[in-house]
């Protein structure tokens, strides 16, 4: 048991140690300083040239958002057409069929928004062509979109009055060429050498010791698995994701993949400190996120190691903790760490069945996604945090007797309006979605869909409620992991979660960028003794309180009816 805990601690510490230099490197890249990947410059110049992009043209926040939304819309069209025609296209050795329009709608959106809520199974639902040129392509570009949006925020927070916030295309291309691609290559090589397939051949067939003949899916998987971890995407090559022995062969790859989940989200926090030259601010932000993360993590790890109380009551000893739905090669502690890492960062890949975890772990995973800012998704995690921070700045600014200001900019009604809408959006999407599905189950159980509402839930009762709550939380947070056990491949779930995905992705990007863009044009007020320092630990505490209260308060009744009711019933 101690070795398992040690494994968790080592994985986490190693992640932070790697994130610090990476953060410094990212900051240097945005500043345009020389880095070891300077040799990518010609490649970038080539891309800009064929796309007709002038990399020196600076954009204001509106132009940034226009570029971001336009390119995302183009990808949507492209992906949708590919998925509904994939069955008749090339690179399809297993002869998989095309997707239905509602499934394709859900799939494209979920990959564009960096969510990867898979209502299909990779082995049979996609072809090698769409795995590589739709799914994996989106995994790169959606992560890069998040990073580029964050870079706009970075530029806006400098102590300079300006509306010139850098060039979106430069941010976007460089986050791929200088960050995502190189790191993915490293991770992919590690995985390939540990047994993850990288082959274009179709299914292999083996004869097991029992004498059964088994078809084993494979494909060029290692590269995609690397980016799905690094880019907080989460959509695996295989249906069961990183619980699959080929997607995540051993404890070592598990550590590497887990580091890959957290690495860039944490590094971006440090990058903020290095770029703005406000290391203390980055430290405080990291501190707040880490305290939250570790609290949620330890609750989950404790709960998994302790085992299922219902089994204990029957007198069953659980010396290895709660093993239901877990891979024996990882064990409960590493599975809990993964479960919390993947929900904290809006990654969504899994190495165990979240549906089978103890109710407390389920609650913690949902809480992670409801908050969605304890590290958070790549780029967007900090954008979410920024909204909480603005609310915290406002309340605490009043508490010290000054018109609230953040990094020298006054926070006024307009910014509060945007921040309020964004803070409202998350509970609205999750609660309204869950309410809608609950309503349909109660009032229209026999609706004529691919899966009848009455059959949606594998587990009725509190756990079933948790499954629905988890699905919408995962969608709104652009996480993509599923509680599973939910019959979600039908028009209702494909369409409703699809819309939740779009809103949950783009509004939380548009809002913070708008706030930052407006702030950047405001007069810069130098600090005085009366100014509230946003890099003090007291202010960190305030932000933490705002995050906990907004998330906890809005979701408390829902969590009570789901995992909490289940937890107390098991006792």
């Amino acid at each position: 048991m101690n070795t398992e805990l040690l494994g968790v601690i080592i994985t986490y510490v190693l992640t932070v140690l790697l994130a610090i230099p990476l953060g410094k490197y990212i900051a240097k890249t945005i500043k345009g300083e020389r880095t070891i990947l300077g040799f990518m410059a010609p490649v970038e110049r080539f891309i800009f040239k064929i796309c007709g992009i002038d990399p020196n043209k600076e954009m204001n926040w509106k132009q940034h958002l226009k570029a971001l939304l336009t390119i995302n819309f183009i990808w949507f069209i492209y992906g949708f057409i590919m998925l509904i025609t994939q069955g008749s296209l090339f690179l399809n050795p297993d002869g998989n069929p095309s997707q239905t329009p509602d499934l394709a709608f859900n799939t494209v959106i979920s990959f564009i928004v960096n969510c990867n809520l898979q209502h299909y199974s990779g082995e049979s639902g996609l072809t090698y062509l769409t795995q590589l040129y739709v799914v994996m392509f989106f995994q790169f570009v959606s992560a890069a979109t998040g990073i580029a949006a964050l870079f706009v925020l970075f530029k806006a927070l400098r102590d300079k009055v300006t509306d010139q916030l850098g060039n979106f295309w430069v941010f976007f291309v460089q986050s791929i060429t200088r960050l995502l691609l190189p790191l993915s290559i490293i991770v992919a090589i590690v995985l390939a050498f540990n047994g993850t397939p990288t082959s274009f051949e179709g299914k292999d067939s083996i004869v097991t010791l029992q004498g059964d003949s088994v078809q084993v899916s494979r494909g060029p998987a290692a590269g995609m698995i690397a980016i799905k971890q690094l880019g907080t995407n989460g959509g695996g090559w295989f249906g069961v994701n990183s619980a699959h022995p080929l997607e995540n062969p051993n404890y070592f790859t598990n550590v590497v993949e887990n580091i890959a989940i957290l690495l860039i989200p944490i590094a971006l926090v440090f990058a903020l400190g290095y770029y703005l030259n406000r290391r203390k601010l980055a430290k405080v932000i990291f501190g707040v996120m880490t305290v939250g993360f570790l609290f949620i993590l330890s609750t989950s790890v404790y709960s998994e190691i302790k085992g299922n109380p219902a089994l204990s009551k029957m007198g069953v000893l659980q010396p290895t903790g709660s093993m239901e739905g877990k891979e024996a090669r990882f064990g409960p502690a590493a599975s809990a760490l993964w479960g919390i890492s993947t929900t904290a960062t809006s990654n969504g890949s899994v190495n165990a069945m979240h549906d089978s975890m103890t109710p407390m772990s389920g609650a913690m995973q949902m809480l992670d996604m409801m908050i969605n800012a304890f590290y958070g998704g790549i780029g967007v995690g900090i954008l979410n945090y920024f909204v909480f921070l603005i609310v915290a700045v406002f309340i605490s600014g009043l508490m010290v007797g000054r018109t609230p200001e953040f990094l020298g900019r006054k926070i006024e009604a307009k910014e509060m309006k945007i921040a309020s809408v964004i803070a409202l959006l998350h509970p609205l999407l999750i609660l309204a979605g869950t309410a809608l599905s609950s309503y349909i189950i109660v009032h229209h159980p026999e609706a004529d869909w691919a899966v009848k509402p009455a059959n949606w839930l594998n587990n009725p009762g509190y756990h079933g409620f948790g499954e629905m709550l988890y699905e919408y939380t995962s969608s709104a947070a652009n996480n993509g992991s599923g509680f599973e056990g939910l019959g979600d491949n039908n028009i209702f779930w494909n369409v409703t979660t699809g819309f939740v995905l779009i809103l949950g992705r783009f509004l939380p990007i548009v809002g913070p960028i708008a706030i930052a863009g407006i702030l950047a044009q405001k007069k810069y007020i130098p600090e005085s003794a009366g100014t509230l320092k946003s890099d003090s630990y007291t202010f960190g505490l305030m932000t933490f309180a705002v995050i906990v209260i907004i998330a906890a308060l809005a979701f408390f009744p829902a969590l009570t009816l789901g995992p909490l009711a289940e937890h107390f019933s098991l006792k």
Binding site: M399, P526, G530, A554, P557, A565
Partner: protein, 685 residues
Amino acid sequence: MSIHRRKTHGLFEPALVNTALKQSFVKLSPRLMVKNPVMFTVEIGTLVMMLVVIYSIVTGDTNEGPLWYNISIFIVLFLTVLFANFAEAIAEARGKAQAESLRKTRQDTPAKKIFPVGEMYVNEVRVVHSSELQLGDMFECEAGDIIPMDGEIVKGIATIDESAITGESAPVIREAGGDKSSVTGGTKVLSDKIIVKVTTQPGETFLDKMIALVEGANRQKTPNEIALTILLAAFTLVFIIVCVTLKPFADYANTPITIAAFISLFVCLIPTTIGGLLSAIGIAGMDRALRANVIAKSGKAVETAGDVDTLLLDKTGTITIGNRKATHFYTANGIGEQDFVELAVLSSLADETPEGKSIIELAQAKGINKSREEDMHFINFTAETRSSGVDLKDGRKIRKGAFDAIRNMVTKHGGTVPKEVEERVKTIAANGGTPLVVALNNEAKGVIELQDIIKPGMQERFQRLRKMGVKTVMVTGDNPLTAKYIAEKAGVDDFIAEAKPEDKMNYIRKEQQTGKLVAMMGDGTNDAPALAQADVGVAMNSGTQAAKEASNMVDMDNDPTKLIEVVEIGKQLLITRGTLTTFSIANDVAKYFAIVPALFVASIPALQGLNIMNLKSPESAILSAVIFNAIIIPSLIPLALRGVEYKPIGASALLRRNLLIYGFGGIIVPFIGIKLIDLIIGFFI
């Protein structure tokens, strides 16, 4: 002038409470309630509960819970709305009471209007009603007359009793020309006769504006208040979503929830505490400024004062007491001290300046008295000689003046000024003093040191301002050397020496360009542009009309240090809003733990585990939470009206302190309160 406090009303004077109670009901009108989104939703909730009660009575249906329980919830919700209305009404009533005392002075008074072309004479004086006076009209006032309108004295000088506005009973002198020419309607002439030109339209006099402001008629929401209202509306919306979606959730879980429980949960969760007190806090802020005898032209001005980064203060009268005083006699050229002091006194006998008088006072303290004699020939100060003095009949010629004036005189007569005099002069100047050299028969005999006396307590005040993050700037006509010395001694952060009116203006502009907010106080017409440029301009009531027009606050006490108080009032206003918001939201944690288990425990008994307060029954839990939610509003009215205390301990320390008291306290208090109420209710059910 000492800082005078207007007569203050007790927080809950019976007369005020009566009016406020009446107003609480008047304010129930939805048209008024809708301005406060938080309390408006509570009112709707109350209305729904009323329908539920009526329905239960008519049909006898108890599906929505027992009748006594629904009635109790209805009453408590109704009280919640009333309490919030009462908070606003009592703040307004306090303002109105102030206004009433002002209005008495504004009653229609007879005015002696001067008609340039009268019926019989030129400049004929006829008595008209004060309301008939128009902008530009002239009127005259004699001893015993009440001044009918705001205006500017064009002729004459008078002592005036301004106690009706300032509360200060000592009469003040107002005279034509200069910076003390304006008079306010409602004040009384005590002596002499003045001719005044009306400077305002009827109905727009100072008093009218003041009454309107105090009564809250012109109260507009300040930018911070608007932003806070948005945030509170967002919190309200979140909880609307929470409560509405709870219905299908509960249906799914087969847990019927009564309407009363829904509405209670909602009302408890939305920030009713701050929502109910928000406008009271704003009105009380204006009221506090008024009680400090400062009239703000808008609530925004008071709020901005709290944000001020730079404060411009005149040296004379603000930092130092009005004039320099003689502090030392230094002899030279071998003359005895006694003799030198005598010379100094003789030279100052005819000197009517405060400096001259202070020389005589200092000599008196040393036991030397001299008086004017017939045959003394006094030489007056002229700009040319820059010295003054006396020729005695024994032929002694005594002169007193600035060092270079005396040196010129001495060298012209072939003499030299001794080294010791020159050095002494330098030392005095370097120490911020003003040296005056005294010469006898064209021979320098010694130096008198004049010093600025810094007002007692100023150093501490500047210290306090620095801790608030406010930079203080001293404005003076002195030379840079003297200015620097006094600035250091008083502890101000910066100074403008040899200041001309445009220097102030430039300094303000420069500070504003770096993003700072600047406040200044002024009285003269030449201050007007700078007062208008400053973010917070405070004019003295004794100042000219132009200065008052250009400023956004007027200080009735004419107290130059009042700015410091204004800054604190502004900060207090924001702090009160911030802390009560925090308190209100932090309260929700305990309310959740009271209500949520109560909602579900009937059908999910396991959730008893969440009932950490161990409340008696679901009904008592919900009732306790709603009652706590209601009574916290009136309990905080005194705090809202008085304002949360401001301590200049630095922003982070202040945040820590307020977070501990109102954040942490806000989490703990309701746990205790709800439990106590539950225990009490437990006796009845």
